[in-house]
Point group: C2
Chain length 230, copies 2
Amino acid sequence: MADAPLQIVVLLFPNVTQLDFTGPAQVFSKFPNTEVHLAWHTLDPVPTDAGWCIVPTVTLDDCPRADVLFVPGGNGAFDVFDDLVVLDFLRRQAEGARWVTSVCTGSFTLAAAGLLTGYRATSHWASLQMLDTFGALPVSNRVVRDRNRITGAGVTSGIDFAFVLAAELFGDEIARSIQLAIEYDPAPPFDNGSPEKADQAVVNKIIAATHGLRFQRVQKAARALETAGD
Amino acid sequence: MADAPLQIVVLLFPNVTQLDFTGPAQVFSKFPNTEVHLAWHTLDPVPTDAGWCIVPTVTLDDCPRADVLFVPGGNGAFDVFDDLVVLDFLRRQAEGARWVTSVCTGSFTLAAAGLLTGYRATSHWASLQMLDTFGALPVSNRVVRDRNRITGAGVTSGIDFAFVLAAELFGDEIARSIQLAIEYDPAPPFDNGSPEKADQAVVNKIIAATHGLRFQRVQKAARALETAGD
């Protein structure tokens, strides 16, 4: 009998940063014998941060058990902090999963579900240190692995994360073959992709522009932790 | 009065390679004063190559005039070769556009509409030379600009393409700021992203596996050229 297909479960939610998962999803789509599920409360189209919508493939209730659980980030990642159905879904799925993973601020959603407590993990550079509030150990790397947790940093790091995962699951040769198939030979016209490399003025501008957002996120986190403690 | 928003029109179609446009779309979503439209015949969800669906935002009939016309690739790019409504849409949109652009095999769709005749252009490495059949001049670069045409190579090159476009439209500072915002500091775990860098065995395997596909594409191209000549 053929092996059962690998089940990858992606948590989809309104205001997801779409490239957080569409990047890895392109790599996942080339995995051998693999099914990818986009799970949310309903099957109604979900608006992404880019405005347009993606259609979930399965509801949280009907979702198969994940071999790989994957949570992308975005502003919406903080809105599910007090969604007990989602948090419970993540906890149940994580129990049986071989890999529990996230990209960008998706690590906060995992952390809110208690799934990164005591784990080294990463996130988008502008939010990374806040992981500490949730009991995770923030590490400033593009991809961070600790036991069966793999977390990626901001947005585009999801593609690098997906190749790390590909190699884990299927070995280097298949990972390399997928890399060639999607011509992943990046050549950014500027070298400004991390706060270490960027002009300090640009870094400061983003930090200033997102200050209110970070404050809101801390408030949401505080409320969620309070509720969890009730 | 404030400037009118920049209009970016993306041609969406069934079996699009989703990262061809979701990569650039993440960069577009951070452009100042910009509207992005996903255009197709109807507003029904469109299945991507990854299985799940994206919802168009506008029909071809109702689509506003593009300042930037953008065509992603994928197997579906070859299925619109004989769709005269799509080809006519592209020609009309290209007339008034500041930039006419594509990623991956989207350059074949532009070429099928006659929009790359005599232009240097690129495409996915495994299909690149076939651009010649359509009167374009194949160039093996990650991003190729010729007059107001900008074409990107395979799949992930769309992200590099989008930063080239960002700098053209808004200047280097904004492009660099978006790069930091989406933490585009790529670190692939393997260096196998182009046929020059890849193991020859992996290259040959992909060429062999896609031989039938390329043959079908040539047939579709021949039929389309025949029809156009009627």
